[in-house]
Symmetry: C2
Subunit: 228 residues, 2 copies
């Protein structure tokens, strides 16, 4: 479904070259549940942005459904991404001027879903993450964990095949966090979605079938989690 | 040191009144280490902003060193706060256009510390949180956990008496997170600082001597943690 071949991501900072990812080759199959783990600064978010086709590698190639994304123009790529991938960003990336409901409606509007079914879907997802009483709040009127939950609801809005979640429960208490993990786990087990989740919490990593560990931009471990 | 008397924080949203904090009375003594725990949306960050005198209560009074903060003008309050309180924000609140080093230098400049000792202090703090190789990065060039660590270094810049930390290790892997907790614990035990930390992680709450639990804007529990 998504494949990396010898992918590097390099940033030039004056004289110094920062290698955020080094020679990463990995394949994600349809219906997988993978956890990407590793220390702060090890390249997890960089890898997620590339998996989500939101960024271009400095070297190497990335394939989405067997198409080399470097050969697609931006509008084809956006189309492919929009219907296929839902992204929970580490910093939520909500639109400040829009309410929680409007933020969740945005991907549905981009996919040209009709107003009535779109509104129903958005409200159901916000209810699922416990935010029915906050749908008219704007991000600045929401707590950190509430903003994160809006970001989760938005990622699920178009029922994407692939959910990319960058530390999706980082700002949540353990009860709310477990509810979110139960949602993701159910989407995987019952709906057959592909879930790729960054987490630095080994307890949360247990929900995933596969563990990919990063260190200094390289994959140092890629194993099946026998507990799933 | 810091006292709340019957403090309420209320937001008006059209017809609806949101009570983020309800009738909270609590005292924090010099040299305490308190953890504020509770579900997402329960009022922890709201309480922290009030403790840090960054916000005004809707009802009730707040005292900093026995002075009712409502009776201070903004510049006196800013002066009192600047030298006394270091704040690690839940969303870091770094200045985007400045490097990590410049962000940590800012409170030192505000306190009019000379350039050479200020730079030495800032670099030592960034080294303490493992960011010596990133001092010239701007926030957009840093990972989530690296931004959080800059925010921690900045909070400690002026060696404040009181450290207010809103989920200070939320974006950190367990090793880096433990290093940060060890720093805070040492500042409390050896330097006698007052630490008030929001966390939704019961393992991290164990570092604190006192646990204050919030639910729907009210304190439901306030106990000594026998393990400290
Ligand atoms: N400006 C605002 N307008 C309206 N409601 C607000 C505003 N700011 C906060 N709230 C509400 O106040 C409540 C408490 O928010 P607060 O940020 O203190 O929660 P929290 O305990 O820090 O949550 P989290 O663990 O998710 O960070 C939430 O229900 C939130 O929606
Ligand atoms: N625009 C940039 N310019 C320079 N360096 C960058 C840039 N973006 C990221 N980096 C560096 O690349 C490395 C990997 O960053 P990344 O955000 O992928 O880490 P991460 O594993 O997600 O960390 P965290 O767990 O703290 O979120 C870091 O050392 C970071 O400083
Ligand atoms: Mg990251
Ligand atoms: Mg908060």
């Amino acid at each position: 479904l998504i494949a990396f071949r010898n992918v590097w991501k390099t940033y030039q900072m004056g004289e110094i070259q920062v290698n955020a990812l080094k020679d990463v080759s990995v394949e994600f199959k349809k219906g997988e549940f993978a956890a990407i783990i590793g220390p702060s600064g090890s390249g997890k978010s960089t890898m997620m942005n590339l998996v989500g086709c939101l960024d271009i590698p400095s070297k190497g190639s990335i394939f989405l459904k067997d198409q080399n994304i470097a050969q697609l123009d931006e509008s084809d790529l956006a189309g492919l991404r929009g219907g296929t991938i839902g992204f929970v960003f580490q910093q939520y990336n909500l639109i400040p001027g829009m309410t929680a409901l409007e933020n969740v409606l945005l991907p549905l509007e981009i996919q040209e879903i009709d107003d009535a079914p779109a509104e129903k879907q958005a409200k159901e997802l916000l209810a699922l993450v416990g935010l029915s009483d906050h749908i008219r709040h704007r991000p600045s009127q929401l707590s950190g964990g509430q903003q994160q939950r809006v970001s989760i609801a938005r990622a699920l809005a178009c029922s994407p095949e692939v959910v990319l979640a960058d530390e999706p429960t980082g700002a949540l208490d353990s009860v709310t966090g477990s509810e979110v993990m139960a949602i993701l786990h159910r989407l995987w087990k019952e709906n057959g979605k592909t879930i790729i989740m960054v987490t630095h919490d080994m307890h949360l990593a247990q929900y995933a079938r596969r563990h990919i560990e990063l260190k200094d931009g390289a994959i140092i471990r890629d194993e099946i989690n026998e507990n799933q």
